[in-house]
């Protein structure tokens, strides 16, 4: 085993052929325009996914039936350079209100000339999402293993092979 826990954050770096302010706007107020439609937590189909453009704002979805489901909060809102969101969803795409189980999405936008932007993306503290609700769901559900524990099983199988 390694001496310390491996770095469990998801890190992505990409270059967008657009000005920095525009990239920031598309990511935040334009969130609904690019978010994968299949990924939402409400029972109703997704009408819109929203990041409220201010610190302390909500990150939530609206269903076509008018229902709303929380995803998290806007922790930092600094246009056009940075947005940090708390992610209250576990690996099962369920909302977990406990701040101790929230992970964090941190996105930085840096101009690379007038019409190009470097975007550095980190989804960190995902170890927090492994706790409570998800394991409880896995342990308590009738069919037994779903979600993370199914992945755990797959991993166990892989490492046992």
């Amino acid at each position: 085993m390694p001496d310390t826990l491996p770095d469990l954050a998801v890190r992505k770096s990409l270059t967008v052929e657009a000005p920095c302010a525009h990239a920031f706007t598309v990511f935040t107020t334009g969130f609904d325009s690019w978010w994968p439609r299949a990924h939402h937590i409400g029972k109703a189909d997704l009408l819109a996914a929203v990041i409220e453009p201010r610190a302390g704002g909500r990150w939530f979805e609206k269903g076509i039936d008018g229902s709303e489901c929380e995803w998290g909060k806007v922790l930092v809102y600094e246009p056009p350079s940075r947005v940090v969101l708390s992610w209250h969803l576990n690996g099962e795409w369920q909302y977990d209100p406990d701040p101790a189980h929230a992970s964090e999405v941190d996105v930085r936008f840096t101009p690379d000339g007038p019409s190009r932007t470097k975007v550095e993306f980190v989804h960190r503290h995902i170890e927090r999402a492994v706790g409570a609700e998800q394991l409880r769901a896995g342990v308590d559900s009738e069919g037994g293993w779903n979600g993370l524990l199914a992945m755990f099983a797959a991993k166990a199988k892989e490492t046992a092979a």
Binding site: M1, L5, D32, W34, P36, A100, F152
Partner: protein
């Protein structure tokens, strides 16, 4: 064999104290003494819970000086990381395309 392993993991987490210890370790690797101070159970009881978690493949331990540090078994966490990594690859590709689409801006 694998079914047994998974059912052992479920069994290990069916005890509330053990599950709480596992969740606590997911936040930060810790020694037995640290956990005994935080949980209303004796040190031998904590050790016993850790042994069950370890036998179930849910935590691992390593020597650190004279202490043993327990941590959540990385493959369980790595599985979630891998899943999110793949998800964000797709999502950020879509973001890039949306940001590069011209001349409309989303709030125009």
């Amino acid at each position: 064999m694998i079914a047994n392993q998974v059912s052992t993991a479920f069994g290990a987490l069916s005890d509330p104290t053990r599950r709480a210890i596992f969740e606590r370790l997911a936040g930060a690797p810790s020694a037995v003494g640290d956990l005994a101070r935080e949980f209303p159970v004796s040190r031998p009881a904590v050790s016993q819970h850790l042994k069950v978690l370890k036998d179930a493949g849910l935590v691992t331990d390593r020597a650190h000086g004279t202490r043993r540090i327990y941590q959540v078994h990385p493959p369980a966490l790595e599985a979630l990381r891998t899943y999110l990594d793949s998800f964000w690859t797709t999502a950020l590709d879509r973001f890039k395309s949306a940001a590069e689409a011209r001349p409309r801006t989303p709030n125009a």
